[in-house]
């Protein structure tokens, strides 16, 4: 079904020149808003772009479990703990839907995980920042999941069927994440002055990295044009970033918090919030592996993968034993 890209025909239609008529026919289907399905013909660059995007997205969900997992044992109440556990479990689930969507393009989950652990694959730069206080869990839900939703809602209409379907499920679930984060922020902001200061400190640290989540500015982005033409993406990085700022600034003001951007002001002419310049050097530096937590994240992922190896091996051996026993009976 979805997965037959993985089971057979992996190299069918691959390599060699791509006939112009096939490319034109493909673009016609895209323009007509038809969904492309796993076994349909697609240009090699379309397949590669999707594998890169979907796998980066999957890796981000999995690595994203780490900064939040950090606070599960120290959540301030049972209610918060149960919600955080459910949220982190969701992120694991999102990783699985996405790896499954990537597999329909003919690459296995094992290969993708190996690329991540070998440091060859990217994941969202945001997860390389530390969660220093409980308020960071609120800020992540509100800002990081808020930015993710902004990015992901248009992906529900992505031209590639399995990715679009995975995104529909994910968006439904993310909305709980954002609301639980905002509720944590609201509770802190309505609490003691110390609690409100925690919320402010979290906003100060997470605001700019959240804006960077949308990726380089349109003038710098390497992948935007083609992705838009193929309807993999529907909006450019800068468009989505602006939408996020417009939606989020009033929410921050409702909390009574100040944004760490002296240039932030409402532009009546454009009806948008104008924001200051993003420090792209910081972004590139974090992507290059030099963020505050890059090494720790990868060390933890590798350790978890290695420590789980015996479980995977035992499960496969047991499954094999049962299959042989059943076959013998």
């Amino acid at each position: 079904m979805y997965t037959q890209g993985l089971l057979h025909g992996k190299d069918e239609d691959r390599g060699g020149p791509e006939p112009a008529e096939k490319l034109a026919r493909f673009q016609e289907r895209i323009d007509a808003e038809e969904k492309i399905e796993p076994n349909d013909w697609m240009p090699e660059a379309y397949r590669r772009t999707l594998i890169r995007m979907i796998s980066q997205h999957a890796h981000s969900e999995i690595v994203g479990m780490l900064p939040e997992g950090n606070w599960i044992t120290r959540a301030p109440s049972l209610r918060r703990k149960a919600a955080l556990l459910a949220k982190v479990q969701d992120e694991g689930g999102h990783g699985l839907y996405l790896y499954a969507a990537a597999e329909t393009l003919g690459v296995s989950r094992e290969e993708l995980v190996e690329q991540l652990l070998a440091g060859k694959a990217k994941y969202s730069s945001i997860f390389n920042y530390p969660t220093l206080s409980w308020a960071d869990i609120g800020a992540i839900g509100w800002l990081v999941d808020g930015a993710a939703i902004m990015n992901q809602i248009p992906l529900c209409r992505c031209s590639y069927g399995p990715y679009a379907r995975a995104m529909i499920r994910i968006c439904k679930e993310e909305s709980f994440h954002q609301r639980q984060g905002f509720e944590i922020m609201l509770t802190l902001c309505r609490g003691t002055p110390e609690q409100k200061a925690m919320a402010q400190d979290a906003l100060d640290r997470w605001w700019w990295p959240s804006l960077m989540m949308f990726g380089p500015s349109d003038t710098q982005s390497q992948h935007s044009d083609k992705s838009l033409r193929w309807k993999i993406k529907r909006f450019s990085n800068d468009e989505l970033r602006q939408k996020f700022v417009d939606a989020t600034v009033p929410q921050g003001h409702f909390l009574g918090l100040a944004f760490p951007d002296p240039q932030l002001r409402f532009d009546h002419a454009t009806s948008h919030w104008h924001f200051g310049a993003i420090d792209w050097d910081e972004f590139r530096n974090v992507l290059a592996g030099n963020g505050p937590c890059n090494r720790q994240r990868m060390t933890q992922r590798r350790a978890a993968h290695e420590r789980g190896a015996w479980v995977r091996e035992a499960a496969i051996a047991y499954g094999e034993k049962r299959r042989l026993r059943e076959a013998a009976e």
Partner: protein
Amino acid sequence: MSEVPMPLWEVFIRARNGLAHKHVGSVHAADAAMALQAARDVYTRRGEGLSIWVVPSGAITASDPAEKDMMFEPTASKIYRHPTFYRVPEDVGNM
């Protein structure tokens, strides 16, 4: 690649009593029992279902998209298979 690939399963869920099972996605698992467990954890965290089927992905035979026209196009010309093809005078009432 050092890892042995985990077998792949397709997951079908019955959302409500009276509905058919519907394909929702896939999971990797070593055997059918673990595939059911994983499907439960991954696809039914919010009351999405009352029943789950898991099927080894390799056991599914699918039609070839390249043969889509040959398979399905002939039905397009057979409009007499639809009730609206037939005219019934209004006086006869609903039929």
